[in-house]
């Protein structure tokens, strides 16, 4: 075995046999932001066989504080994250095959990329993508690892199809309108802690040490010195539409996807999130007000301007993003500011 992996193979739960398994595995990473770059670097250094990385965004200066694969040059060039990540990853370990996709992946596009994938890792910034991954995981029986962070807080949970409760079992509703990294900020230790949880879970799955996989929902707040883990095994719901006895995989359906439309002649994009519900505009305004933006609130909508884009959010979750005709950019901004 290669000298490169000697310290990892000395670790007995992996060993030479585990390293060989890692080498044969294909991981799909959705998102190449903070969690995505951390996971990608760790897995590529660990010597996986193949990595598929998907991201819709490009590198900006505000990413460099925590998104470890990117350089100032990437931000200057506004390089797509998937492209910049691939370049850096191949410098780190040229033995790994890296497939990079610059796109806002829909369920059907994801389905085409899942052939031969052993594990999916969540490095997205929104629950629409996570619920899609959760249904894909159940439909194709591929494990996935949920991870998320904001401010100094982080959370991680591993989903093994046919065994653990899925993400849909744990949620009484799809979280919307909470804090995001762009409204509450984020410090890199919180990112690294989630990355550590996700990559160690990934290693256990890749070497097929199923008994070692954590069945717990873990979370922490590094600034508040809080750590917790909850055994959620009893939350498995037999009638869950994603993992129950008669699954319908609701989040793979068109009706559950975010819709966008360019408004002709208005230099604006309209965004309609799946499953409308009443938003608390006061809550959204309060979160936004913590930043240095002027927020306007009335009983029907909340609006503010940032980066030359004016954003207006209505009570039903619908939003108008003014100053762009780029639907992907509009979606990115929506998830950034409204979750």
């Amino acid at each position: 075995m290669n000298e490169r992996y000697s310290r990892q193979t000395l670790f007995s739960p992996i060993g030479e046999a585990g390293q060989k398994k890692i080498r044969e595995k294909h991981v799909l990473l959705l998102g190449a932001g903070a969690l995505g770059t951390g996971n990608a670097e760790a897995l590529v250094r660990a010597g996986i066989g193949r990595l598929t990385v998907i991201d819709r965004d490009y590198v900006e200066w505000s990413n460099l504080q925590r998104q470890q694969l990117y350089s100032e040059r990437d931000a200057e060039d506004r390089l797509p994250k998937a492209v910049a990540a691939k370049q850096r990853l191949l410098e780190v370990n040229s033995d790994v095959k890296v497939d990079a996709y610059v796109m806002d992946a829909t369920p059907s596009e994801m389905e085409r990329l899942l052939d031969g994938v052993d594990l999916m890792i969540d490095a997205t910034d929104n629950f629409d993508a996570r619920m899609m991954m959760n249904d894909l995981s159940q439909k194709y029986q591929i494990p996935w690892i949920y991870g998320a962070c904001v401010s100094s807080y982080g959370i991680c949970y591993t989903i093994l199809p046919g065994e653990t409760p899925c993400l849909n079992c744990l949620l009484d509703q799809v979280p919307r309108g909470g804090m995001t990294c762009d409204t509450a900020g984020i410090i890199s230790p919180a990112v690294q802690m989630v990355v550590a949880h996700q990559t160690v879970e990934a290693m256990k799955i890749l070497v097929e040490d199923w008994a070692a996989v954590s069945r717990k929902l873990v979370s922490f707040d590094l600034w508040q010195n809080q750590h917790t883990s909850i055994n959620v095994s009893r939350m498995k719901n037999e009638s869950c539409p994603s993992c129950g006895e008669n699954p319908s995989y609701p989040f793979l359906k068109y009706s559950h996807q975010m819709k966008t439309a360019v408004l002709c002649g208005r230099d604006s994009v309209q965004i309609r999130p799946p499953a409308s519900r009443e938003w608390s505009l006061e809550e959204v305004a309060r979160t936004l007000a913590q930043q240095e933006v002027k927020v306007e609130l009335n009983p029907y909508l909340v609006s503010f301007t940032t980066e030359n884009r004016r954003m207006v959010l209505f009570k039903d979750g619908r939003a108008l993003i003014h100053g762009t005709q780029d639907e992907t950019e509009a979606k990115t901004l929506y998830h950034r500011y409204f979750g």
Binding site: G31, G33, A34, L35, G36, D122, A123, T124, D125, N126, F127, R130, G147, A148, C149, V150, Y153, I155, L170, L171, D172, Q173, V174, P175, G177, G178, M179, T180, C181, A184, I186, V194, L217, S219, D221, Q224, N225, Q226, H227, T228, S229, I230, V232, R234, M235, S280, E283, H335, G339
Partner: protein, 67 residues
Amino acid sequence: MKLRINGEWLTVPETVDTIGELLGHFQLDQRVVIVEQNETILEKESRSDNKVQDGDSIEIVQFVGGG
């Protein structure tokens, strides 16, 4: 009243009577969370009925979206 919340002993006002009020105290009542009280996971519907008592061990996990 002293409660052990996510592994840390915290003092909360005596006016906090139920799990629902505790979530309100931490401004988590609008958020999607899982709450475990003395190692039992609570149904969302029962949070407003479940009383908190001095010395309770409570775990609160909030689902966040950033990444």
